[in-house]
Symmetry: C2
Subunit: 433 residues, 2 copies
């Protein structure tokens, strides 16, 4: 074939603007390494050193020897060989979510995944059996979930998210509308705490109400909770899974922000009973393992050992071990909000939200904040951010800028907001000329 493969003959997801958008962002970040970046949602490395990896491995293997009574040969095989499809550190994870979130889950219903991302793929693939099934997503929404839906040709419908998280009256209305056109609202995806990209959170009363609405609409709920520990103001709220009394909620957890993203370990809590032919009963976790065996076979034993070691070293209490990180993120968020107020307070045409925690703030500006504007911001002002339209499926968000404060120092935030103000001024004179 000296001829090239036409992109149009490859799967449609590859022509999706959302997937290309993220590539553009990564390119810009690489092209301007000296820019101050409010773009990536990655965690701070803190005091992490390369030798910590071996240290955590050692904690894990000592645990296997001392607590589980494994022989040196068995420990070597545990690291070297193919492993249990649903993972090796499921008991440690069950203990951790019990300690941190008050979630009671049988370890057999924990699926260890290659990051939360693989968890999303497994869950969507399992649940969506018919072209009639529709996934409801918050809008704006994390691109990881809409991207997976695109890969699997699953229809998504957006449910608007306000300052207090998902709008439940809209959720009810949209679910009914989907049913009225002969389709089935199968599941709802949301991040109830400090959502990406909006930073919005759902009040506790609204969480209970959401579960009622979901039950009435026969919707399963996919709860994704990467940022829950990083609260700036107010009291911790219960996860939907902790409030769930009838196996409605599938919980997706991540160690990327609370341990380390490089290990690529996340998990799914999937305790839903499944009824098969001849009265056979399984759980959703067992069904997910069939899919996982065809996606990644099992999560890296080496990665699981490192994360397992981190869990053990911290007594299976990540909320406590993340206290310093939480302080850093919330101080950064507070500083960013203070500086935005210094620069823009009183401007009727510039607005921003004040999330209770998490990594993200959304700034609304009086000009189009698209790829071209980002390119100018990078080139002329050496400051990077993420266009909000990446997170919308309908072209909305054209005047929004997502600012992430997790991977910048206070000095960078100070300098960065200055550059951002210069960029905003330049865009305004540009529009005026």
């Amino acid at each position: 074939m000296n001829a090239a493969l036409p992109l149009s003959e490859l799967h449609a997801s590859l022509s999706d603007p959302a997937l290309s958008a993220m590539n553009f962002l990564n390119e810009v970040v690489e092209r301007y390494p000296d820019a101050i970046s409010f773009a990536p949602g990655r965690p701070s490395e803190g005091e992490f050193r390369a030798t910590d990896v071996s240290r955590y491995l050692e904690v894990y293997t000592s645990y296997l020897a001392e607590q589980e009574g494994f022989s040196p040969e068995r420990i070597a095989a545990e690291l070297f060989q193919y492993g249990r499809t649903n993972g090796q550190i499921h008991r440690l994870i069950a203990r951790t979510v019990a300690n941190d979130e008050g979630i009671a889950v049988d370890p057999d219903n924990v699926v260890v995944t290659v990051g939360a991302q693989e968890g999303m793929l497994l869950v969507l693939r399992a649940l969506f059996g018919s072209p009639e099934d529709v996934l409801l997503v918050s809008s704006p929404c994390y691109v990881g979930i809409t991207g997976v839906a695109r890969l699997l040709d699953i229809e998504t419908v957006a449910v608007p998210e306000g300052t207090d998280g998902m709008e439940l009256a809209e959720l009810e209305r949209i679910s009914a509308e989907i049913r009225a056109r002969g389709k089935r609202p199968r599941a709802l995806y949301l991040v109830p705490d400090f959502a990406n990209p909006t930073g919005a959170s759902l009040p506790t009363a609204a969480r209970l109400r959401l579960l009622e609405v979901a039950a009435a609409a026969e919707l399963l709920v996919i709860e994704d909770n990467p940022y829950g520990f990083f609260r700036r103001v107010g009291e911790a709220r219960p996860t939907l899974k902790a409030l769930d009394s009838d196996h409605r909620v599938i919980y997706i957890g991540s160690f990327a922000k609370t341990c380390m993203p490089g290990a690529r370990v996340g998990y799914v809590l999937a305790d839903q009973p499944v009824s098969g032919a001849h009265g056979r009963r399984t759980t959703l976790a067992q069904e997910l393992s069939k899919i996982k065996s065809m996606v990644t076979v099992n999560t890296s034993a080496v990665s699981q050992a490192v994360i397992g070691g981190m869990l053990i070293a911290n007594g299976c209490r990540l909320r406590d071990s993340n206290a310093d990180a939480a302080k850093l993120y919330t101080q950064n968020l507070q500083l960013l909000l203070d500086l935005l107020a210094d620069r823009f307070e009183g401007r009727a045409d510039i607005a921003w939200n004040r999330p209770d925690g998490g990594f993200f703030v959304v700034l609304t500006v009086p000009f189009t904040a698209d790829d071209a504007a980002l390119e100018r911001s990078a080139r002329e002002h050496r400051v990077l951010w993420t266009p909000m339209n990446y997170f919308h499926r309908d072209g909305a968000g054209s005047h929004g800028i997502r600012l992430s404060c997790s991977a910048v120092t206070p000095e960078e935030i100070r300098a960065g907001v200055g550059r951002l103000a210069a960029f905003v001024a330049a865009e305004e004179s540009r529009a005026a000329s």
Copy 2:
């Protein structure tokens, strides 16, 4: 929902007998831990120790410091953070396939994957854009590829494999037949060396001919090569990718058998040019990265570091570093073949093949070798194997037994073949009574 989720409303792949079959096999293996197992295709652990993981990590980080000039902070970030979607050890992999297979590939066209399994998922998702596209697979076939096809609702058509690998006249005929019914034969999946489950290999002349047939039929070729180093007799043959002059072959590589499966690292060589809108040119590797970002984000940095350390420690020459392992596997294979001859030679109703290498032998028996027979074999004779019908899509293979010789000692092979003979005799008297 106190009611359970009906399996029939989940994705159809979850009701697929092939996926349940593998679960049954794993269950049996777990239930009879004292049985001699010819079932799993896993590699030998050799002299591997848990501390080797840290040693290889150290080799890799020293390489980053000394050869790449990375600072300690940058090395820590390399392990800790999210990384490049297509991986960090792509240059080392390109060097290794050049040394071991004479394959010349630009490192930018290497995609580091979570095992070969994720590679299959990425490749099938990218290539299959329309319900008209059909995947051709060898028959019998590795369940990993047919399983992925099932997950993605891709139609597969079987092409028979004989002693000398895929039957090329059948490949031509079946491709034409698919086109005649208005569908498109999009790609062909095969393992040219010591295939799983048959152990069959394609002669060199047939490899060249296969590429011609594929070109004429406008088929892309997906070559999977996990066992190539483990040759018992004859000379090494060129991979299809090494013979490929027009970007027809997508090569899937695995470190599971040549380094360690627990790291879950594999790779795809995807140098196919892709033409997009507005004359934009990319390669298939770049398109695969868009999909990978929605499946696993990137392959574990910790796992990549361990495999990277193994590659560096062995001068990027795995064929050489696997010489001892190859000797072990081929001696095991030879012993198994010799013992089968001792037991069954002269029996007209029992047959087996004599693969040139790899992990697998197929024994054909005069009774149905199904799950029930496997259960009896495990319970009454303490010997495990894999029913060949797991590898067929059409109910064929009912009298076949796959014997794997990679994870057993010579003593186990001797005792195991004795038990197998007792099991065969018991099944025969059972059929006679």
